[in-house]
């Protein structure tokens, strides 16, 4: 699959930028489930998802893919702190989404995100609070 085919499949806007470390493409309103289905069909591998705080309480999520040895970094913003989960389509995303919920409180629609690196009673969004846990402390 090339970028043009991906653009058509995703009906995506934005301009991909080619750099030494892969292709970077920010796509507002990206349908992440369609992205996952399309890329997995072309035998791409999800490397990981990076979360970064963005304006207005949203998070920018960067989906890093290995497409036949080349890295594609497709990013989009959460909407109201939410984004669709791709874990049902792409099992590799299971723990990644749980960790992002732990650290940035992103809600992944269509699944539960039990604590992964935090303990059961810790509030999610640890990195948003600059690492400060609730008064009850870590149990």
């Amino acid at each position: 699959m090339n970028l043009q085919e991906l653009r058509q499949a995703l009906r995506a806007d934005g301009t991909p930028i080619e750099k030494i470390d892969g292709i970077w493409w920010h796509i507002p309103g990206l349908d992440v489930r369609l992205m996952a289905q399309t890329l997995l069909q072309s035998e791409a591998r999800l490397i990981t998802i990076t979360a970064r705080p963005a304006d207005a309480g949203e998070c920018r999520l960067i989906y890093h893919w290995d497409c036949q040895g080349e890295m594609w970094h497709l990013s989009t913003l959460t909407q109201g702190g939410k984004i669709d989960s791709i874990a049902a389509i792409c099992p590799a995303a299971d723990w990644i989404e749980c960790e992002i919920h732990d650290l940035y409180a992103v809600v992944f629609s269509g699944r539960e995100t039990p604590p992964l690196v935090l303990r059961a009673d810790d509030p999610s969004g640890l990195f948003l609070s600059n690492g400060k846990l609730s008064q009850e402390g870590k149990k």
């Binding site: 591998r45 970064r52 960067i62 650290l103």
Partner: protein
């Protein structure tokens, strides 16, 4: 009769925290549940409070076994953002240290596997070999664990005695070929304990994004050194061992064969080692932007994401370790396995909880 066995947070085979609940029927494991995070240190968040150079020491402490791969991948990400490339001699030195670290990791793991199998003589053999590797790394870096070799744009120490490295690697290669490979590929006890045990199919490995020797033991022929070469790996001749059976034995054999390949790569790198500059540089600030880097660590692909706003501290560093993607598949490997095989199956992916928890 069904029952649940809680194990951990201390690992039944390795000295790292991790919790496992095994749902069993008789001697069969029907389901397994994993809990991690007991060693969570928020290192990615701490990295946002240190400057670009201080972070090298921080990332070196993510893991005691593969400390070098973390500083290497981080430095490569910083170099990608800066748009610089280390001198050629520094790149060769980085390869030599990285392959020595792989040897150390694989030999240590082989010793642990031998111990779990009850093969104590092989355990002793592996730990004797491990001493040779640690001595070599100490002779190069001055350290036996955290080598502090990588700097932004180069390395912190030159390799001044290649002959000692060459002789040590020759000893390791001979022992691996004559002893480890012979036992791991032909010994009936090893075969009886490992063949057909803890299978991860190729389709499962692909779906779960498994990396490194665990993936290659399931028929996924992927190695970042070959698929997406970095440093001077494209100047070295090596093959990528792949097995198709996806069982514990395949994971053992892949790592044993990789040790031989690492020895050959070090020998080639020593032959090709050019004279010239090797030192890194001191960078206080990064340009604004974002970059990634990835390398093939002993346990598989290590991936770093780095973002800068132009100040001296990064605004975000993301660390994706190989164990983080490999560990969830232990649940698949354990399904319908015998309870007695559970410690060996878990250990067969060479899990690193320090890396996973960060």
């Amino acid at each position: 009769m069904s029952y649940t066995i809680p194990i951990g947070p201390y690992h039944p085979a390795l000295e790292e925290p991790y919790k496992l609940e095994l749902e069993c029927e008789g001697e069969r494991v029907r389901a397994a549940h994993l809990q991690i995070g007991f060693n969570f240190r928020a290192i990615e968040l701490i990295a946002q409070q240190r400057n670009v150079t201080q972070n090298i020491a921080l990332f070196e402490r993510i893991c005691g076994i593969c400390s070098n791969v973390h500083t290497l991948t981080y430095c490569l990400a910083v170099e990608n953002l800066l748009g610089i490339e280390p001198p050629l001699r520094a790149q060769y030195i980085r390869v030599i240290v990285a392959e020595l670290e792989r040897l150390h990791s694989h030999i240590l793991w082989a010793g642990a596997a031998a111990h779990i199998l009850g093969f104590q003589t092989l355990f002793m053999t592996c730990f004797r070999l491990r001493e040779i590797v640690m001595d070599l790394l100490e002779s190069i870096s001055g350290n036996r664990v955290n080598y502090a070799m990588n700097a932004i744009g180069g390395v912190n120490r030159d390799l001044t005695d290649p002959q000692t490295v060459r002789e040590g690697v020759r000893q390791i290669r001979q022992a691996v070929e004559e002893q480890l490979l012979a036992v791991f590929t032909a010994d009936p006890t090893v075969r009886a304990r490992c063949a057909g045990v803890g299978i991860l199919t190729k389709a499962e490995a692909i779906a779960w994004g498994v990396v490194g020797p665990t993936a290659r033991a399931s028929g996924v022929a992927q190695d970042i050194r070959q698929a997406h070469p970095y440093l001077v790996y494209d100047r070295l001749e090596f093959s990528v061992p792949v097995q198709e059976s996806g069982d514990v034995l395949a994971r053992i054999v892949v790592r044993a064969l990789e040790m031989v390949e690492s020895c050959q790569m070090i020998e080639q790198a020593l032959d090709q080692l050019p004279p010239g500059e090797w030192k890194g540089q001191l960078f206080v600030e990064l340009p604004p932007g974002e970059a990634v880097a990835r390398i093939e660590g002993p346990r598989g692909e290590v991936f770093y994401y780095l973002a800068s706003d132009g100040s001296e501290k990064p605004v975000r560093v993301k660390v994706r370790t190989p164990s983080f993607v490999n560990m969830p598949t232990v649940r698949l490997m354990l399904k319908d396995a015998t309870l007695a095989d559970a410690p060996l199956i878990q250990a067969s992916i060479d899990p690193c909880y320090s890396c996973t928890d960060r």
